[in-house]
Amino acid sequence: MKVLIPKSKPAKGAVGKTGLWRTSKPVVNHNKCIKCVICWAFCPETTILRFEDNSVDIDYEYCKGCGVCANECPVNAIEMVED
């Protein structure tokens, strides 16, 4: 019998569209954002999009709405709003 080993390769959305889990979503206030990328470093789902100028945005397809980014942002530039 062929052995089924539960291994997985790195891939986007390996467990599906985690964005569906969300009840509230993070919204970045770009006027307040100081481009420190702390949110990008802390997001457990790597769904903060980081651009070349270190500005950030959210990948809502996979963001699960945990609020870690809003909690970590040093200047409160991320607000959790009902989805």
Binding site: M1, K2, V3, L4, I5, P6, K7, S8, K9, P10, A14, V15, G16
Partner: protein, 411 residues
Amino acid sequence: MSIIEDKKSLSNVKVVTANEAVALAVKCAKVDVGGAYPISPQTSIMEYLTKYIETENIPMEIVRVESEHSAMAVAMGAAAVGARAFTATASQGLLYMAEMVYWVGSSRLPVVMAITSRAMGAPWILGNEHTDVLLPREWGWMVLFPEDNQEVFDTIIQAYKLADTTLVPVVVGLDGFILSHTTMPISIPDQSIIDNFIPKNTPKPYALNTEDPFTHGNAVHSNLYLEFRHNIFKTIEDSEDLVDEIDKEWSKLTGRSYGGVIEEFLLDDAEVAVLVMGASSGDAKEAAKKVREKYGIKAGVIRLRSIRPFPVKRLSKIAQKVKAIGVFDRNMSPGLGGMIATEVKFALYDLKNRPIVQSYIGGLGGKDVKIADFENILVELKEMVDGKREVEKVKWVGLDLAAIEKFLEEV
């Protein structure tokens, strides 16, 4: 006692406890990594290994950790990169380790673990009981149970063969204190025999690799989990013959065979048989001989060596011959019966002419079970066959409720 007849290898005979036999086998298996956390009666296994590292400079890494949970995590991490891994525990330690034991089983990592059987609290207890050894049979592990120190050594080696072939980890259970702390002579085969028997270059499709990165145990949706469980089920179910083959192959190399999944003792003409695991089997065999002499009862012993895979095929064949099997369980499933008795009944229920199966529970917490107890079981089985005694759901061996009453009065 094939050891003394085996003159060729007399030079390699050592007189050791079963715990040292485990450590010697792990050394001979050239295990790369072990996770170590002490618990009686297992502790000296890892101590012997650290001694070999100190004094003989064996190429093994032992990580001393803060808990059994981490000891198994070390073994898991080592196995996940393709290293040969080992750990040992018992009783409460196994319970604390349980989460990682399940992870290793379901990740298909061929770890081998020794469990020196011991009862679990409360009340706090050190004595021998098999419940702990049996638990991993539900957790995706194979479970083997040798009878004496030589077989303990041989079974650890065989366990690596079984694990590497099936990618299912293997528990080797051994009777706590009764074997773990008792010395017996064992013969150690030439290292080249062991190297060829369990080569380290077997395919390792599970081994992490930086060239082609992947991870173990990521989430799946509910539509796939059942299939993973089914795969483990089938692999273990299909391994019954493999355990027999490994035993045969080992016997060709060393002259020692244990019957594979089951050792059959005086079963050819047996009418009644007691089914038993581990060190008590010696007493059961004596009892079978005695009741043959004393009462002319055709008695035999079914010594269960493999609990997973559960030997459904071999047991069914034996069940065609005998009229009654008394399953002696040094363990229990509370409120139901002995754990092995319930499995024996499951395995035999579909047979047309199935024998009587009587569950006996005894020896829990290290309570002494004597040859006379096994004689009594065999006599009772004969009476059941002859219709002179009722079969009961469970019969208790050595249960002394008056002693508990007395104890309660005194405290």
